[in-house]
Symmetry: C2
Subunit: 248 residues, 2 copies
């Protein structure tokens, strides 16, 4: 007995497109995404693809016209509405290139709602390239099945972050000096995690943090975690406990 083949097949390309999608839209894809679809995935007229727009959800589409550098797409039907993610922000001091990429990619996969770069005294400011981070976010969303992109906030200095902190949102500060183990910290959404740069926070910054009413010091075990390990481990632990990982 032959099984009914799944449609669209698992290998169907899945792409974010920054234009509103709907039953009547006929999006045109050019640039790097078109190159990828035409020359790497070798899509032909009639081939399926999945599109999401961070507005309406996810749509099954097919190639209507395939030029040398441009694709025109026909929308077939909506497959999912835009889904939300748990209300967790990751506030992180930017670190070295590959490790920063990793924070962005993994936090997006794990399901954060907002990525907030934080400039600290030991942060090298040149590291925040918004365009690069945005591209990482899109790629991770395409890969992990998200229909809602995390918000990428403008970099902000730590004192300003704390001064304008919204009431009611716990700020879980991964403190090298110790704190409540994250697995027992009561931190339901809305919440945020804060991790430092490679060199950690300065004493003055620690004082600012400890004095902020929203801040709760959390501990991430007895070993010294690299900045990106702390960010990703804390995000995963929070998601497992307070996020949307309970159902399956």
């Amino acid at each position: 007995m032959a099984a009914t083949p799944a449609w669209p097949p698992a290998s169907t390309p899945r792409l974010f497109i920054d234009t509103p999608l709907g039953p009547e839209s006929a999006p045109v894809i050019d640039g790097a995404p078109a190159h990828y679809l035409l020359n790497v995935m070798r899509l032909k007229v009639g081939d399926p693809l999945l599109l999401f727009d961070d507005r309406s959800g996810e749509w099954l589409a097919s190639v209507a016209e395939a030029g040398r550098k441009v694709l025109t797409v026909r929308i077939e039907r909506q497959v999912r509405a835009r889904g939300t993610v748990p209300d967790l922000w990751l506030c992180f001091a930017p670190v070295k290139k590959a490790r920063l990429d990793w924070i962005i990619e993994k936090a997006t996969e794990l399901g954060v709602a907002r990525l907030q770069p934080v400039i600290t005294e030991r942060t090298i400011v040149e590291r925040v390239k918004a365009e690069r981070l945005a591209a990482q976010i899109v790629e991770a969303c395409e890969q992990c099945g998200r229909t809602a992109l995390p918000e990428l906030a403008e970099p902000v200095k730590l004192p300003a972050l704390l001064r304008d902190w919204p009431a009611g949102r716990a700020l879980l500060f991964a403190d090298e000096a110790g704190g409540t183990p994250l697995s027992v910290a009561a931190a339901p959404p809305p919440a945020a995690i804060l991790t430092g740069p490679e060199g950690g926070f300065t004493d003055r910054e620690r004082e600012l943090l400890v004095a902020c009413p929203a801040v709760r010091r959390i501990a991430l075990g007895p070993r010294i975690l690299r900045a990106e390990t702390a960010a990703i481990a804390a995000t995963g632990i929070w998601m497992a406990q307070h996020g949307d990982w309970a159902g399956d």
Copy 2:
């Protein structure tokens, strides 16, 4: 009032050395570690360094002689006994180079006791370079403060892993088809986490896994996690809940 300066300073190099250390030992360091200490860290006679041997613990030492390519070291005193880590194995299908490096580095930082490469049907076997993995392990241990290296096991095929699985050790299988959320799975040590290759496990492998009495299917949320994200998130969640992250 001047604070007493901490000794040794936080910038003191910390090095694994594969020779037994004791009060009477006079280790000689050559090769790449000597190059690092002499030419990058620019250590001089009398400068402090920390050494650990994965046998006796960690020792404060100082440079006795600094040659052009070789250092001789004087042991000052033991600073820590060899510490243990929680009894968690990470069984992982090797993935692409940089992502494999991440698994090794992060699992070591997070505190796993054993790293077990698992060859699956969709694994590209050439990826397991024991020497490369061992170097990653050492570097991560030097950085995170571990005094006990995780054991790096020989790669084993999945059916053999399951056939010889030790009684009493739960094998938490990150199943894309779903399972018990890891945060509520009862999985005290001894335990193990199993993650697949980029392409996932085959249907035949899934059947083998589900039929194994030690296997418990776990879920890691509603998004599709990359292989290395699943490995690191699951390890962090387990450590926070069942490992040594409760004290601080």
